[in-house]
């Protein structure tokens, strides 16, 4: 390994005076300051609580479990998502379904949102396409218990849709 030689550009006397190059830099910052003062809409910022950043179509937010026509969850409690989940966030308890055409249904279906890493493996694993990820991302809550989402939370429609 030889020593790597970096050829830095030589400064001419004008640049070494510093004052004029400094004035040039300051004119650039002043231009930005004036622009963001007179044209606030050109700032690359969102005034967050009032204006929300639009998310991409493939954005992975809160999970949602689809419903059948009669309002029951589409989930058949096959444990595929629970098995696929890399962070053990999903906990399903299955029970026998009333409907003779359907074998099982979830008695409880809990996703611990504190464990969830929003990887979307559960969505990939689901054979019935029952679970998918919405665009909701404001998931703060007041206790750990409230962040263990049960069936009724998971079946809520996406914000601003349906």
């Amino acid at each position: 390994m030889g020593v790597k030689k970096i050829n830095r550009p030589k400064q001419d006397w004008w640049e070494r005076l510093y004052v004029f190059e400094m004035a040039r830099g300051m004119s650039i910052t002043l231009r930005h300051a004036v622009l963001s003062w007179v044209k606030p809409e050109h700032r690359p910022c969102y005034e967050y609580p009032e204006v929300r950043r639009p998310v991409a179509e493939r954005f992975r937010g809160r999970h949602r479990i689809r419903q059948r026509e009669d309002g029951s969850p589409s989930c058949v409690a096959c444990y595929c998502c629970q098995t696929a989940c890399p962070s053990n966030a999903i906990d399903i308890v299955a029970e026998e379904s009333d409907d003779p055409k359907i074998e099982k249904r979830p008695k409880t279906f809990t996703i611990n949102m504190l464990r969830c890493i929003f990887c979307g493996m559960c969505v990939e694993a689901c054979p019935k396409d029952a679970i998918y990820m919405t665009h909701d991302y404001e998931l703060a809550d007041r206790s750990r218990e409230q962040l263990r989402y049960g069936l009724e939370v998971l079946m809520k429609p996406e914000e601003g849709k349906d």
Partner: protein
């Protein structure tokens, strides 16, 4: 006019208190505005809004910050020297505030035969007083660094000591060049000598001294590009690493007061203080009194524009604070129009001399304030533009560039003064 108004107006104490009030407005009252201006300015330069939530245009944010600082726990390190640790922030703040005692805020004005001036103490060694007091500031930062018993703080304190001492010399010598031109160290007299044409201003009489003074005073204030003392990417927070709560607040406020001192002093020494160039030639024997109604009309327009803007819905909502602000601004605009209009209709400049004197003082303060505002903005502007100097660059600039330049400046100025050209 009742007799007591005359007694109050012609009392020396009234004007001493008035000068104190002006000094307080520029320092302690100004601090929330300065911090707001800094954060808003930083935001705008970086293409973001800055604090804009609490109160109209986010102006209450600074007070919210102060309350936050006040209710935080005051942590003193167990190994610290408690006494020095407590006294260091006080030194910084006291030193910064004391320099305001000798700033002349207005020219002489005559009320019922007596002459007054808005200045707390017209010392005949004014500028030397300021140099002496402001060089005490190094005790604050150096002691803070040493007493915290923390290696980063100590490094910050050491840097502050070295930096302040190096740049103090250049600053003093630059001012010597200016003293040669003015032939006095009394600040009020220096301002009087800058009246008339614009080339009587210090900056045109001693341009090299101005450049050296500006660089050295930025180094004195420990701000970018000379903020090696607190250099947050190198030594955590430098001398105030171990400070929290209002003790940190004192350092923080001291920095802004120091900036205000330097801005005012730059205006007073180099930019004619409260003078408008060619004032006498353009506006007659009482230029500032004549300009008073114009100042009021300009203020009215500014107030009206702010009030109008505040009344517009921000982020699609009307907030209560903005509406109150808007109402106050419209009232202020009406008040300014009323004051200016009454002054105009009664021709107070010629018919009511005591009103004319007071109006002149107000105009002079406004002129000083406008110049001051520019130099304060310059501090903020430079801070968010420049990168920090390396330590060797700092020392090289101080000792190998500024010091010889200051000496050269003294030689040139002496020759020019002896030749009678200045």
């Amino acid at each position: 006019m009742p007799e007591w108004v005359k007694i109050v107006l012609t009392s020396e104490y009234t004007w001493a208190v008035a000068a104190l009030v002006v000094a307080y407005v520029f320092t302690l009252v100004g601090i929330p505005v300065y911090t707001w201006l800094e954060r808003r300015g930083a935001g705008f330069i970086q293409r973001r809004p800055g604090p804009n939530r609490r109160g109209p245009y986010g102006i209450i944010q600074a007070i919210a910050d102060a309350v936050k600082l006040a209710v935080k726990e005051d942590v003193v390190p167990a190994a610290a020297n408690k006494w020095l640790h407590a006294i260091a922030p006080m030194i910084v703040m006291t030193v910064a505030l004391t320099t305001f005692a000798v700033i002349p805020w207005s020219g002489d004005f005559v009320l019922f035969g007596d002459t007054f001036r808005l200045q707390i103490a017209d010392l005949n060694f004014g500028i030397i007083f300021i140099l002496a007091i402001s060089s005490m500031g190094v005790y604050g930062t150096a002691l803070a660094g040493w007493s915290s018993n923390n290696k980063y703080s100590l490094l910050g304190g050491l840097r502050s000591g070295a930096q302040m001492v190096s740049y103090e010399i250049s600053m003093g010598l630059a001012i010597v060049g200016l003293l040669l031109v003015f032939g006095t160290v009394r600040l009020s007299e220096m301002v009087f000598q800058q009246s008339g044409a614009i080339w009587y201003w210090g900056v045109f009489q001693a341009p090299l001294a101005f450049v050296i003074y500006m660089v050295a005073s930025y180094a004195e204030s420990n701000r970018v590009p000379f903020d090696l003392v607190e250099a947050d990417s190198e030594i955590v927070a430098g001398y105030h690493t171990e400070y929290s709560s209002l003790r940190f607040g004192l350092f923080y406020m001291g920095e802004y007061v120091h900036m205000a001192v330097i801005s005012v002093l730059t205006v007073v020494l180099f930019f004619g203080g409260w003078h408008i160039p060619w004032a006498q030639e353009l506006f007659g024997p009482q230029p500032y009194a004549v300009l008073f109604p114009w100042l009021m009309f300009v203020l009215a327009i500014v107030f009206f524009l702010i009030g109008w803007d505040a009344s517009l819905p921000k982020r699609r909502v009307h907030t209560k604070g903005n509406l109150i602000m808007s109402a106050l601004m419209i009232l202020a605009a009406l008040g300014s129009v009323l004051a200016g209009g009454l002054y105009w209709t009664y021709d107070a400049t010629n018919s009511i001399p005591w009103i004319a004197s007071l109006a002149g003082v107000v105009t002079q303060l406004a002129v000083l304030g406008a110049k001051f505002a520019f130099f304060f903005w310059l501090f903020i502007w430079i801070r968010w533009t420049m990168p920090r100097f390396r330590y060797d660059q700092l020392m090289k600039l101080g000792w190998k560039v500024l010091l010889p330049l200051a000496l050269l400046n003294i030689c040139i100025t002496s020759v020019l003064v002896l030749a009678g050209w200045l």
